[in-house]
């Protein structure tokens, strides 16, 4: 046999033809318009790929990938959430028959059975007929599985409070340069930091940030001593001088004065409402 570039191939000639052929009739035996993979078909494939890539890059450009605040094992009240394609497995664990003492059913039992069946599908559904109507059991089971996955994912995702989760996102984080040499910093660290964060950024689900506050020094001192909204009274313990330092520290760090607070974002309006309710 001739070697090299001059070698002749006919169709799928590298698949041996013989009496012991276990491979079904080659598709080239079906009447139709076949075309060579190289270059005709690959050019079309390449076009599909290019269109796909454009769509994909639009998605990437429109939605920057999310990043939440740095992992902090002490974040209280954080509800874990897996990536969306694991939500259906996660949701399964919320059903009574697959939770608590039966959790093995939810974590290993049902998923193991389903994925095991998927893995062994050719051996479970081994009759030669390929049309869906010739193998109703396999097709119905698969449809049921697909519907359950969609349903569980929907149930899980619809129960998530996405707005609350967005509070943890870095893009919603307000950042302030904190002057650690300021006399009030130590007062802040001792009295406020555990709830309002080490740079006034607040703690999601616990306390708001202290950036661009619509209050003047007197109001801040009042809030520190008497609380506001959900903030209880007597969070500040210290001398009058320390209180003055604290108010000055918060005002300089956050850059917000009462006068500047006017006509600003809805966040400050919410805060003013909180003030009303506290009075």
């Amino acid at each position: 046999m001739q070697k090299g570039k001059g070698m002749k191939f006919v169709g799928d000639s590298r698949i041996k033809v013989g009496p012991k052929q276990t491979i079904p009739k080659d598709y080239s035996e079906y009447p139709g318009r076949t075309e060579p993979f190289w270059p005709n078909f690959l050019l079309k494939e390449w076009l599909v790929g290019a269109v796909f890539l454009i769509g994909f890059l639009c998605l990437v450009a429109a939605h920057p990938s999310p990043l939440e605040i740095k992992a902090d094992p002490n974040t209280s009240g954080y509800i874990p959430l897996p990536d969306w394609y694991f939500l259906f497995l996660y949701e399964l664990l919320k059903y009574e028959f697959a939770a608590a003492e039966y959790v093995v059913i939810g974590t290993i039992g049902i998923p193991g059975l389903a994925f095991g069946a998927l893995l062994l599908a050719p051996f479970l559904d081994s009759k030669p007929g390929r049309r869906p109507t010739q193998r109703p059991i396999a097709v119905i089971l698969m449809l049921l599985a697909v519907v359950s996955v969609f349903w569980l994912t929907y149930e899980s995702a619809s129960a998530v409070n996405w707005e609350e989760r967005a509070e943890y996102s870095v893009s919603n984080m307000t950042e302030v340069e904190v002057d650690k040499d300021h006399a009030g910093y130590e007062v802040y660290a001792n009295n406020c930091m555990s709830c309002h964060g080490d740079s006034l950024q607040g703690v999601p689900g616990m306390a708001p940030d202290l950036v661009d506050l619509p209050y003047d020094a007197a109001a801040i001192k009042d809030i520190a001593q008497n609380g506001i909204g959900e903030m209880p009274a007597d969070m500040f313990t210290g001398s009058e001088e320390e209180l003055n330092q604290l108010a000055d520290f918060i005002l300089t760090a956050s850059g917000g004065e009462a006068a500047e607070g006017e006509g600003e974002s809805s966040g400050s309006e919410d805060s003013s409402e909180g003030e009303d309710s506290a009075e």
Binding site: G4, F9, Y27, E45, E68, L81, R130, R165
Partner: protein, 224 residues
Amino acid sequence: MLNKIYDWIDERLDVTPIWRDIADHEVPEHVNPAHHFSAFVYCFGGLTFFVVVIQILSGMFLTMYYVPDIENAWESVRYLQTEVAHGQIVRGMHHWGASVVIVMIFLHTLRVFFQGAYKKPRELNWVVGVLLFFVILGLGFTGYLLPWDNKAFFATQVGLEIAESVPFIGTEIKTLLAGDPTIVGAQTLTRFFAIHVFFLPAVLFGLLAAHFIMIRRQGISGPL
């Protein structure tokens, strides 16, 4: 010139049959969307591979900046996303690609399933394909932790608890993944990094090779 180099190599290694095998086969009408538009369902497998290639390339670039260490992991991702030129695009491609590859492999699996294309003689290729599905889910799970943000940390904690619930060997599996039977911390991150960047991709390449060699040996299944 190029021809002479090719001939020189071909004379010694007989490389022609290798590429002829890939290039020189007929694509049947029933899988060609140019003839029947409904044949677009045959694109899902190729698109899955395409996204896998995107994942490999974008992942390689991400490791140029990423630091697998709990002090710096989050900072490095943040730096990559806010300071590095095109860093947001590269991370965005890797992040969204992880979702798109799941969608595509899901559609590809359904296409093969409902057409009964896994029947004799293609059983083994189906098994390899489902293993690829598992590997890609594993890549998604391990990659989710790497930015070391809050959702990564807490989701991984739950994932490890699920691994722990396996009867008899649960604690061992958890320790293998997390580096410690109870702590999710520095070792967990380095292990997930190693699994995500070395172990699983190695398995992925092997299985992909098997998947493609088998499809070339057997051809695409005929029309229904």
